[in-house]
Amino acid sequence: MIPISRNNKNSGHLFPLIQRQILSPPLIIIIPSSKMIHFVLLISRQGKVRLTKWYSPYSQKERSKVIRELSSLILTRAPRLCNFVEWRGFKVVYKRYASLYFCMCINQDDNELEVLEIIHHYVEILDRYFGSAYFILDEILIAGELQESSKKTVARLVAAQDSLVEAAKEQANSVSFIISQATK
C-alpha cells in the first residue's frame, strides 16, 4: 500500500524540525516498560523511512526525533559489528537486508537474539508473499508481541484478506453494480 521505495532525502523537513528543537525544551520520551517491541522502523540506507509502526505511544514530534536519532546511530555503524545499539536506556536490534535496515526497539533485558530471529521471520514472509509490508506486519505482531511463528499461516491470512479487497473492487466495477447504483 505505501510503496516501499522513495528516493529523495527527507532532509526536506529536517531543517524546520531542528529549528523547532532548539526553541522547545528537549522532549521526554516515556515508554511503558513491559512491552516486548516498542516500535518497528524500516529505514533505507540513505536514511529515508519506509515503514513505521509504533506499539508505544509517541507524539509525532517524538517519532521524528526517534527516527532521526536512530538513523544517524544505525546507518553510521560499520558492517560486521553487532546488530544491537543502546539508545536511551533501550536497545535497538537492527539488521540490514539489501538496502533496507529493519529496526526493532526492545527493553534492556529482552532477548536480542530472538528479536533478530523475528526480523528474519518478517523478512522471509515479505520475500515470499508480495504484499503490503504493513498488513503483513499486522499478522506477525500485535501489541509488540509475536502472534504467529508459521510463515505459511501469515501468508495465507494476508492473501485471504487481499482477495477480499480484490473481490470488493471487482464488484464495484461490475456493470450490474453500476446500474444498481445509478437506479437507486
Binding site: H13, Y58, L81, D109, N111, I118, H121, F135, S149, L164
Partner: protein, 881 residues
C-alpha cells in the same frame, strides 16, 4: 464522482515529493496535497477516501501534521465493507495513539466489528485494539475480547490473546477475568495460539499474584511436558528455523517457566530436567539455537537454586564470550552482568576476556564490557584493572573517552587502597583525558591532595612535569595551577622527596613560567585564568625574587574584558603594591580541606556522580567488606553500596543548599554580589579560607552572591570551603573600619547586610515526606523585603528501582495561605535516586509570625503502568516561614 478531478494518484504524489530539490519545495508540494485532501474530505468525496488516507499516511511518515485526517479514519472504519475498514484501521493505528481523545469515538465501531460475522473484520478490530487501546477502551471492550478467546477460528483466538495482554496491562484489575481462558489456551495444538497463550499467561503472572499462583499450581507440569514435546518434536517444515522446531515457542515457554519457577522450589524442581536438556542439547551454531540458550540461561539463573544447572549456564556464557560472532559476545557480556549476582567468582574467571572486549572496535560491545569491568573491580584487582584501563585510555576513540574516564575515576575513587596511588592514577587520567573529567572529580582530587600533607611536594612535582607535556588538558592545568599556588615552594626546594621520584631542579622563574603559559594559553577558560591569578598572588609572596614579574603578569589582565579577571587583577595588584603588611597573611597556604564534609555534600547533592550504573550496581555484591578504617576509601566511596544518598537533608539544589550552610555558619558581611557572579567564586573562597579572619568577608560575600541565584556553575569547593571554616560571626563594622582591606570592599554599608541577614535567615532543609518509594525534601528561601512569602523548592527522589512516569505533584493549603505552583522540572522520575524532579512552590503566609505553614500533598505517578497515589501532610516546616 468527478473524473476530471485534479487529484493526483498516490504514486504521482510520491514522485512529485521525490523530485523536490529543496525543503521549501517539498513543503509546498505537501501543502498543496494537504489542501486537496482537505477539500476532498469536506466534499465527502467517497471515491478518493482510500487514496486520501494512503497519501496522508505517507505525509505523516515524512513528519508533517495530519490531524485533519483522523476523522477520515473513523469514517472508513464505520463503513460496511472490508476494504474500507482495512485501510481505516491501518490509518488509525498510524495516525493516532492511545493518548488522543478522538480515539474514544472509535470504541463503538470497534465493539461492532468485534462482533462482526466476517472473521477478518474481527481480526482487524482485535489488531487495532491490541495496538492502540487506551485504558478506558480496554475496560469497555474487555468482555468482547474475553469471549473471542473461545472463538472457533484459532487465528482469532491468537489475536484475542495478544489483545488481552494489552487490556490487562492497561487495567490490571481485569486480570482475573482472563486467567481461566488463558490457562485453557495452553492446551491447544495450534502454534500461534500456544505462542500467544503462553505469552498471555506470562503477563498475567506479572500483573497478578493470584494468577501466578493459579497458573503455577495448574499448569507448570503441563508446560514442562509441552516444552519437552517441542524440544523433541520431529522436523516440521512449517515451524522449522535452521533445524529447530519453532524457536519462538521454545523461548516463550522458557520465559513462562522462569516466572513460575522464580521463588518456588517445587515448580523449579519440576523443570530441572527439561532445562538441563535444553541447555545441553540445543544446537549452538545458529542464531535461533543461541536465542534459545540465552533464554534457558536466564531461566536457570532466576529459578530456585540448583548448582548443577548454574554451572551449565555459566559455561554456556563462557562459550558465548569466546564466540567470534559479535552478537553473541555482546549478549554474553550483558548476561554476565546479571550472572555476577549469582556467582561472581565464575564471572571473575573471564576477566581477561572481558577486559579485551573493552578494547573492541564495536562501540556497543565496548560499552557493555566497560560496565561489566566496573562491576568486577574489587580491592584485589583494582590496581591491575585500573592500569589496563588507563593504558587503553591513551588509544581509545574520542567518543568513548568520556565514558571510560568517568568509569576509571569512579573505580579509582571507590577502591583506592592508598592516597599516593589515587593521586598517581588521577594525574594519569588528567594527563590523558583531562577534558573529560567532571568538575566534582577534580574537586575531590584537590581535597585529597590537600589532606595528604606528606605528598604535597611529590604531587606538585608530578603535576609540574605532567603539565609541561599536556598543556591542552584544561583540568590537569587547573589542578596543577592550584597545587603550584599552594605548594610552589616545595617544587623549588624539592621538599619531601620520595624515593621513587626522579630528582628535578626547578627554579622560581620556571614555576612562574608554568602559570604564565597557562594564563595565556588559548584553551584556558575563565576558571583556569582566575585560578592562575590566585596562584600568582600566592607565589608573589613565596618567591620574592619573582614578585615584580608576577605583578607584571597580573597587571596585564587589568584591561581584561571579563569583569572577574579585571577585578581580580586590580585587587591583587593593589594587595601586592599597597598592602605588603597583610599580604603574607593573605597568601598563607590553605588549611587542610575537610574531607568528610565534602564527601557528604557531594553525595547529597550529586547522587548520580558515580555514573548511571549506580542503579544496578547498588544491589551487586562487589565492593563489600571495605576497610572502613581507611578514611580515604570511606570518604570517596560515593557509590557505597547501601547508602546512595546519605545526606537526607540535602536536596539536589546546590545553590540553596550552599546558601543555607553558608549563612548558618555565620554570615557577617553583605556586599559585592554584583561583582561576584562568575563561576569562580569558589576560588576566591578558597583563598579566603587560607587567609583567615582578615578576609572572612570573602566567603560571606560568596554566600550572598550565590544566593542571588546567578546562573553560575558553582564549584562544589566553595561550599566546602565555607563550611569547613565554621567562622564565627565577626563584627562587620569593626572589620570594615579597621581592616586595611577597606579599598577592596568600599561602598557596602552595614544597613544592607542587616537586611540581607534578616531575609536570608537560614531555614534548614526538611524531609517533608517519605514513603517506601519516594522521598520529598524541601529547601526554603525568602525574597528580600517580603517576609510573608516563601519560596519552597521541593525535590523528589525515587527510592525504588523502577522509573516513575506521569509524575504529578499536587498541594493544598489552608485559607490563610496562598499557594502558587511552578511547573515541575520533569514528569519522569528516574529509578534509584538517579536523578530527581524539582518543583518550585511559592507560599504566601498572610498570618506570618502567627501561624506557621502547613500543607497537604498528593503525589500521583505511574509505576510499571500502574497508577500510584501517595498522600501526606507536611507540618514540620521550620518556624518563622
Amino acid at each position: 464522482m468527478n473524473p476530471f478531478s485534479s487529484e493526483t494518484r498516490l504514486r504521482d504524489m510520491i514522485r512529485a515529493i521525490r523530485a523536490c530539490k529543496t525543503a521549501a519545495e517539498e513543503r509546498a508540494v505537501v501543502r498543496k496535497e494537504c489542501a486537496t485532501i482537505r477539500a476532498s474530505v469536506s466534499d465527502n468525496d467517497n471515491d478518493y477516501k482510500h487514496r486520501n488516507l494512503a497519501k496522508l499516511m505517507f505525509i505523516h511518515m515524512l513528519g508533517y501534521p495530519t490531524h485533519f485526517g483522523q476523522m477520515e479514519c473513523l469514517k472508513l472504519i464505520a463503513a460496511p465493507g472490508f476494504p474500507d475498514k482495512r485501510i481505516g484501521y491501518l490509518g488509525l493505528m498510524l495516525l493516532l495513539d492511545e493518548r488522543q481523545e478522538v480515539l474514544m469515538l472509535v470504541t463503538n465501531s470497534l465493539k461492532q466489528d468485534l462482533n462482526h460475522t466476517n472473521q477478518y473484520i474481527v481480526g482487524l478490530a482485535l489488531c487495532a485494539l491490541g495496538n492502540i487501546s487506551s485504558a478506558e477502551m480496554a475496560r469497555d471492550l474487555a468482555p468482547e475480547v474475553e469471549r473471542l478467546l473461545l472463538f472457533r477460528d484459532p487465528n482469532i483466538r491468537k489475536k484475542a490473546a495478544l489483545c488481552s495482554i494489552r487490556i490487562i496491562k492497561k487495567v490490571p484489575d481485569l486480570a482475573e477475568n482472563f486467567v481461566n481462558s488463558a490457562a485453557a489456551l495452553l492446551k491447544e495444538k495450534h502454534h500461534g495460539v500456544l505462542l500467544t497463550g503462553v505469552q498471555l499467561c506470562t503477563d498475567l503472572c506479572k500483573v497478578s499474584p493470584d494468577a501466578l499462583e493459579y497458573i503455577r499450581k495448574r499448569c507448570t507440569e503441563g508446560l514442562v511436558k509441552l516444552l519437552k514435546d517441542v524440544v523433541n518434536s520431529p522436523y516440521v517444515p512449517e515451524y522449522d528455523v535452521s533445524g529447530i522446531a519453532d524457536p519462538f515457542l521454545h523461548i516463550r515457554l522458557l520465559r513462562l517457566l522462569r516466572v513460575l519457577g522464580h521463588g518456588d522450589a517445587d515448580a523449579s524442581d519440576c523443570m530441572n530436567d527439561i532445562l538441563a536438556q535444553v541447555a545441553s542439547k540445543t544446537e549452538s551454531n545458529k542464531n535461533a539455537g543461541n536465542a534459545i540458550l540465552y533464554e534457558c540461561v536466564e531461566t536457570i539463573m532466576s529459578i530456585e537454586d540448583n548448582s548443577g544447572l548454574r554451572v551449565l549456564a555459566i559455561n554456556i556464557l563462557g562459550r558465548f564470550l569466546s564466540n567470534r560472532d559479535n552478537n553473541i559476545r555482546y549478549v554474553a557480556l550483558n548476561m554476565l552482568m546479571r550472572a555476577i549476582t549469582v556467582d561472581s567468582q565464575a564471572v571473575q574467571r573471564h576477566r581477561a576476556t572481558i577486559l579485551e572486549c573493552v578494547k573492541d572496535s564495536d562501540a556497543s560491545i565496548r560499552k557493555r564490557a566497560l560496565e561489566l569491568v566496573y562491576l568486577l573491580v574489587n580491592e584485589n584487582n583494582v590496581k591491575l584493572l585500573t592500569k589496563d584501563l588507563i593504558d587503553y585510555l591513551e588509544i581509545s576513540d574520542q567518543e568513548f573517552k568520556g565514558d571510560l574516564t568517568a568509569k576509571i575515576c569512579s573505580i579509582v575513587e571507590k577502591f583506592s587502597p592508598e592516597k599516593i596511588w589515587y593521586i598517581d592514577q588521577m594525574l594519569q587520567v588528567l594527563s590523558e583525558a583531562g577534558n573529560y573529567v567532571k568538575d566534582e572529580v577534580w574537586h575531590a582530587l584537590i581535597v585529597v591532595i590537600s589532606n595528604a600533607s606528606n605528598l604535597h611536594g611529590y604531587t606538585v612535582r608530578l603535576l609540574y612535569r605532567a603539565v609541561q607535556k599536556s598543556v591542552d588538558q584544561e583540568v590537569l592545568v587547573r589542578v596543577a595551577v592550584w597545587c603550584i599556588g599552594e605548594y610552589g615552594d616545595m617544587l623549588v626546594n624539592s621538599v619531601g622527596t620520595l624515593g621513587i621520584e626522579e630528582p628535578i631542579t626547578v627554579t622560581e622563574s620556571d614555576t612562574v613560567d608554568v602559570l604564565e603559559t597557562a594564563i595565556k594559553h588559548h584553551t584556558s577558560d575563565l576558571t583556569t585564568r582566575a585560578m592562575c591569578l590566585i596562584a600568582l598572588l600566592k607565589l608573589s609572596c613565596r618567591f620574592p625574587s619573582c614578585s615584580e614579574r608576577i605583578q607584571d603578569i597580573i597587571v596585564q589582565n587589568k584591561g581584561s574584558l571579563v569583569l572577574e579577571l579585571q577585578q581580580r587583577s586590580i585587587e591583587f595588584n593593589s594587595i601586592i603594591q599597597k598592602h605588603q603588611n597583610i599580604r603574607s597573611a593573605l597568601c598563607e597556604r590553605m588549611p587542610v580541606l575537610d574531607e568528610s564534609s565534602y564527601s557528604i555534600r557531594r553525595a547529597g547533592s550529586l547522587p548520580a556522580v558515580a555514573s548511571s550504573l549506580q542503579g544496578s550496581a547498588v544491589t551487586l555484591p562487589n565492593g563489600v567488606a571495605k576497610p572502613s578504617a581507611a578514611p580515604l576509601v570511606d570518604l570517596l566511596d560515593l557509590s557505597s553500596d547501601d547508602a546512595p544518598v546519605p545526606a537526607p537533608s540535602q536536596g539536589n539544589d546546590f545553590l540553596h543548599d550552599l546558601l543555607g550552610v553558608d549563612l548558618s555558619s555565620g554570615l557577617s558581611q553583605a556586599g559585592t554580589n554584583q561583582t561576584q557572579k562568575s563561576g569562580t567564586d569558589a576560588l576566591l573562597d578558597l583563598l579566603s579560607i587560607g587567609t583567615a579572619p582578615a578576609s572572612s568577608s570573602f566567603s560571606a560575600l560568596d554566600g550572598l552572591s550565590l544566593g542571588q541565584g546567578t546562573d553560575t556553575s558553582i564549584s562544589a569547593l566553595s561550599g566546602l570551603a565555607s563550611t569547613s571554616t565554621a567562622m564565627p560571626a565577626t563584627q562587620p563594622s569593626s572589620l570594615v573600619g579597621n581592616s586595611p582591606m577597606v579599598d577592596l570592599l568600599n561602598g557596602f554599608g552595614p544597613s544592607e547586610q542587616i537586611q540581607a541577614e534578616e531575609n536570608n535567615a537560614a531555614y534548614p532543609s526538611i524531609v517533608a515526606f517519605e514513603s517506601n518509594n519516594l522521598k520529598m525534601t524541601c529547601n526554603f528561601s525568602k525574597q528580600p523585603g517580603n517576609l510573608q512569602s516563601t519560596l519552597i523548592e521541593a525535590n523528589f527522589i525515587n527510592k525504588s528501582s523502577n522509573v516513575y512516569t506521569e509524575f504529578i505533584f499536587q498541594a493544598a493549603v489552608p485559607k490563610f495561605l496562598q499557594l502558587h505552583l511552578d511547573p515541575a522540572s520533569s514528569n519522569t522520575l528516574p529509578a534509584s535516586g538517579d536523578g530527581s524532579i524539582t518543583q518550585k512552590l511559592r507560599v504566601t503566609n498572610s498570618q506570618h509570625g502567627k501561624k506557621s505553614l502547613v500543607m497537604r500533598i498528593r503525589i500521583a505517578y505511574k509505576l510499571n503502568n500502574k497508577d500510584v497515589l501517595e498522600q501526606g501532610q507536611i507540618s514540620n516546616f521550620p518556624h518563622g516561614l
